[in-house]
Subunit: 330 residues, 2 copies
Amino acid sequence: MAVRSIYVGLDVGGTTMKAAAVDDEGAPLSAPVVMDTRPERGQEAGLETMCETIRRAVAAAGLGPADVTAIGVATPGLMDIKAGLILDPPNLKPWKNVPVRDHIRQAFGKPTVFQNDANAAAYGEFWVGSGQDANSMVLFTLGTGVGGGIILGDVIAEGQHSHGGELGHLRIDMPDRGRLCGCGARGCLEAYASATQVVKRAREDMAAWRGSSKLRAFYTANDDEFTAKHVFDLAAAGDELALKVVDDTAYYLALGACAVVATVDPEMIVFGGGMVAAGEWFRAKIDGYVRRYGLPFPTKTVKVTFAMLGSDAGFIGAAGCARLAVRGTA
Amino acid sequence: MAVRSIYVGLDVGGTTMKAAAVDDEGAPLSAPVVMDTRPERGQEAGLETMCETIRRAVAAAGLGPADVTAIGVATPGLMDIKAGLILDPPNLKPWKNVPVRDHIRQAFGKPTVFQNDANAAAYGEFWVGSGQDANSMVLFTLGTGVGGGIILGDVIAEGQHSHGGELGHLRIDMPDRGRLCGCGARGCLEAYASATQVVKRAREDMAAWRGSSKLRAFYTANDDEFTAKHVFDLAAAGDELALKVVDDTAYYLALGACAVVATVDPEMIVFGGGMVAAGEWFRAKIDGYVRRYGLPFPTKTVKVTFAMLGSDAGFIGAAGCARLAVRGTA
């Protein structure tokens, strides 16, 4: 009987961590196992939770640890990818200098790779998601922030300082007048196009809007529960003010995409995260601005799509990174 | 006797083409052979001139065609790198769809690779120039335009549409208010920081300048012969207006560098071309703006340097690309 290759992917977030065993074609062998991260309990407890999540994922697939070919772990930054270290990410406080890769490798005695979570998600989409037929792909992840990952064939552009694909901090306006970003700089894409900023811009636009708008009525009634989803829903229903906010969002995202075209010129640009639930009309808006403002030759044919794997991209991609490291090629 | 590996690099420009045989350590075995390109004579004549330049380069090294391991040819875009084709570059008119790689390969019966000229120059600097100790490097070439190349280890980021590293078209200001670029778009780095635009900005700044300036006196006396070099020379001599123009140039270039940090996060960013003759004070200005406006973690340690190989980077890099293709790794 031929030996199957089994890769376990673990995606560690600030709130939960998620793992599953994945086969050689990128199919999860069970629903993902989810455990609370609870970083406040400290990094020793965190490492043990990672091991336990992996053990449960292996068991959920009906396998034993000996069946595992390799393990991939993805975490948010700051990190040192080459060293396999979590440094001090803001959403994993108070963890500091956590030797994730070596700990997991020793615990399971299996080849283990470590990767940034957005890079892993990008690799997941590249391996078995939207980018599965592409030679190269860039992912923008849209959430409370904007993240990203760049995949060029078998190369994950992780960067010399583990900051490759920090696409939320691509500057789309000059630093003396751009919107203020959480990173302290001005003009970063994240300061325009994250879900948080969509809400913020909606509030600003509301103040200046002369016509009637359901957005204003909705906001006045719902106040704190107002989210980017409400803006997108009202835009889909034809509200003009909401449409303006969404249209601006598409424009800003396209400017980020244009910068990616001028640097790495990928075959495909993929957007993932909550906002892509808006669907094709939003994709078409981004696409239109990319063709309008991007370099003519590559933007004639670059593909602009939405992600397919949802929140599974992280653990599938982490497993894919393990497979890539073991095989040397996709 | 061990067989030496010999690579011939050919760098084709709109005015001249340049070739030399290069050894396995990147050292040219003779001064480069230079011939006129004369694109107006047509592409058949152009291909023959390429072959003749290569033949003369081999002879200049005291070798015969049989001694050559592989050949690298670099040309300006538009091109299809994977297909080995020149498409229709503006400075090689009226050439169209020229099968450079296959023609040279058949003429010499040697493995032949084809590359964009700025990518080749970047690879030259990475192999044996400023980036020789770096794991990854990005080159900005500053001339009448702004070009670039991105090298990530053994990968030249040539792009899906042969437009990787088109760094002159990174946008540093928004398309509704940025400076107009030769490509028709607004806000491209090239519209701010090319040698041509340094002169143009100097003229604009002159019109608004209230104080005295040698730049104005010089310009009035010399008119059409006014170049970026004059601006830099006067800045070096302490002229305040010239210093402002140079300082702005450094700022704009740094914004381009920051975009490169946020996308591929290289170990080193190298600037090449005429302006780097200005020397360390200009480098230090760019460097300062990169630290100020770049992502804090990677820009703490990213190296900002000037190129070393001058106009030899193209043919040395083309030879290096041939070597990379034959060996599979640097």
